[in-house]
């Protein structure tokens, strides 16, 4: 188990999970996550579709409430800047690019203080993302890449200690991606904590020093080089498959086995003694039990970790 866990002190900018379980409708999408994202880390969260990447980011920013456990982030949760995957942004609403970026100044300005004196700051942020001259364009006229650039300008202006990015490069061309990655490296250089959900592994290897692999529960967490190995990825893929409508109530104690490991192969996991006896302390019926019985082997966690996610 590698470095990022048990970061200790409550440094501003760190994110700490304690037995965090997030999900929808009682079905966990992220199961029993423990550990700390150190302040200043540049962390990629990877995993198959439905692995809970988006859910995890939503949990950190407070958009969904934990089913169990806690997440502590930064001095205040408001110090987090969050770029969601499918932004709920109404792009037909008639506001200009400058207005959109200016939303990033909500924290210092609030509802009433004047924006007039901030204009140079806004122009500067737009210039940093390559949108000079777009100030007065309505957001509805921007291309996908330009719009993502405008959202990054807003992130710059938010000036947050913690920046969460959910699939920021989906549908974005190479040049824009390169520009935005340079911005992210800049934020890392300034000591900000950046957490990005990504699916392009080459990109992760090239730009992100640490990686968390999840498949509804943490699979591996540590330096990217050590974590992104074929066995880990295969395991992640296998573990994020089914949604079980009739899932049993999880009796897993969030704190007693807070470690998960990088298993070289499933065989090793299977060899571990399962803490639960034949009845494994769950109250699901024998039928459900039978057809999935073999799956109980893998490790400390049990099959509920496989339940549904939509990320």
């Amino acid at each position: 188990m590698s470095g990022a866990v048990n970061g200790g002190s409550a440094l501003a900018g760190a994110i700490r999970f304690r037995g965090l379980t997030l999900g929808y409708d009682r079905h966990p999408a992220v199961h029993h996550l423990d550990g700390t994202i150190a302040a200043g880390d540049l962390l990629a969260v990877v995993g198959p579709n439905g692995a809970g990447k988006s859910t995890l980011l939503k949990g950190i920013v407070g958009e969904i409430r934990p089913l169990d456990g806690t997440v502590e982030a930064g001095p205040r949760s408001g110090a987090i800047a969050y770029l969601p995957q499918a932004a709920e942004i109404d792009r037909s609403f008639p506001v200009s690019v400058l207005d959109l970026a200016a939303m990033g100044l909500w924290r210092p300005l609030g509802a009433w203080r004047s924006l007039a004196r901030q204009r140079s700051r806004l122009i500067e942020a737009l210039a940093a993302v390559g949108l000079t001259g777009f100030e007065d364009r309505p957001i509805g006229t921007l291309s996908g890449g330009q719009f993502q650039r405008a959202l990054f300008a807003r992130l710059i202006l938010q000036d947050a200690r913690i920046i969460l990015l959910d699939e920021p490069f989906t549908g974005i061309d190479e040049r824009t991606t390169a520009d935005l990655l340079a911005l992210i490296r800049g934020w890392h250089g300034e000591g900000r904590t950046v957490v990005a959900a990504l699916h392009d592994l080459a990109q992760v290897r090239a730009h992100f020093p640490s990686t968390l692999v999840i498949a509804r529960r943490p699979i591996a967490w540590g330096p990217t080089r050590e974590v992104l190995t074929p066995p880990v990825l295969a395991r992640a893929l296998r573990l994020s498959e089914a949604w079980d409508e009739a899932a049993a109530i999880c009796r897993h104690d969030a704190h007693h086995d807070a470690h998960y490991e990088v298993h070289p192969a499933d065989g090793a996991a299977a060899a571990e003694p399962h803490e639960h006896g034949p009845s494994h302390g769950h109250d699901h019926g024998p039928a459900a039990h039978d057809h999935r019985g073999h799956e109980h082997r893998h490790d400390h966690h049990h099959d509920h970790a496989r339940h549904g996610a939509m990320s």
Binding site: I89, V95, A111
Partner: protein
């Protein structure tokens, strides 16, 4: 026709009759406050929601009518309570169940409307019902004018205070949630303003047409202006023009033309004209294709 004749035609009725001046003042007050709300409703695709809300006001007004007869304070208070209750209940159901806002609102307003008609028919005659449905713009007394003026002032001040969070809430509600807790209260305050204006409008135009002055000018403005700083003044202007035109037409018309519907019909006529000739996406501008630019 001489200029004097024209002046007589346009200004005469207002000079001559106090009730016309009162009607004009009331409609102009409403024209300052309702259209900006309509602009936001339209941009949020909530146009029909205000229609639903106007129906929701009916049972409250009817309850006031049952208790106190055709009394302005009783019916206004009843309408306010009913409108706010439906708005809040719909919001609560939206946040705590799977229903979307339009569905929960539809459920509540249908209950409310049926209840209102039921209440009115318990006591009133057909004439009373028409009174409630179509308003009494030519019989605005001092109390009604004060109410309209107060509502208008309150709305403009509140909109100025809420403007920035309201725009952010419209464009990117998720963002507002991550930086501030203002989203929920701002949305509720906005709905409350809509209710207050509909209650005011129902004094002048009746419940069924109160929505007219809120939405038609806003929708019309879409054909003339692109951004909020243009849409809001244009909507106000359209609303004022419709008010004046509606009052004059109903005054001069040979047949007995009720004033409330005349005002809404005037707004409707402006909408149809704008739809044809408006420079922003109007029909004719779409048909006549201009040469595209170089870049």
């Amino acid at each position: 026709m001489t200029l004097a004749d024209l002046a007589d035609l346009l200004v005469g009725p207002f000079v001559e009759f106090g009730f016309m001046r009162r009607a004009l003042a009331g409609c102009l007050a409403l024209s300052l406050s309702a259209p900006p709300l309509g602009v936001f409703l339209m941009l949020r695709r909530m146009s029909l929601m205000s229609e639903a809300m106007s129906h929701a006001i009916l049972p409250g007004a009817a309850a006031g009518f049952l208790v106190a007869g055709l009394s302005l304070p009783a019916m206004t208070l009843g309408g306010l309570v009913a409108g706010l209750a439906v708005a809040l209940a719909a919001g609560l159901v939206t946040r705590s169940t799977v229903l979307k806002e339009d569905a929960s609102l539809a459920a509540f307003y249908l209950i409310s409307l049926a209840g209102g008609v039921f209440l009115v028919s318990l006591r009133g005659s057909q004439v009373d019902l028409l009174h409630i449905l179509f308003g009494t713009v030519l019989a605005l007394d001092d109390d009604a004018l004060t109410l309209l003026g107060g509502i208008s002032s309150l709305t403009l001040v509140a909109l100025a205070l809420l403007y920035r969070p309201l725009v952010i809430e419209c464009v990117d509600p998720l963002f507002l949630r991550t930086v501030s807790r203002a989203g929920g209260p701002v949305h509720s305050a906005f709905l409350a303003l809509v209710v207050v204006n509909l209650v005011g409008g129902f004094q002048a135009l009746g419940t069924l047409l109160a929505v007219g002055l809120m939405l038609l000018p806003a929708i019309t403005a879409r054909f003339w202006a692109a951004d909020l700083s243009g849409l809001i003044p244009v909507a106000m202007l359209v609303s004022m023009l419709s008010s004046v035109a509606g009052l004059l037409v109903s005054y001069h018309a040979g047949i007995r033309l009720p004033t409330g519907p005349a005002i809404v019909l005037a707004a409707g006529a402006l909408y149809l004209v704008s739809m044809l000739v408006g420079p922003r996406g109007g029909l004719i501008h779409r048909l006549v294709r201009r040469r595209h630019l170089e870049a």
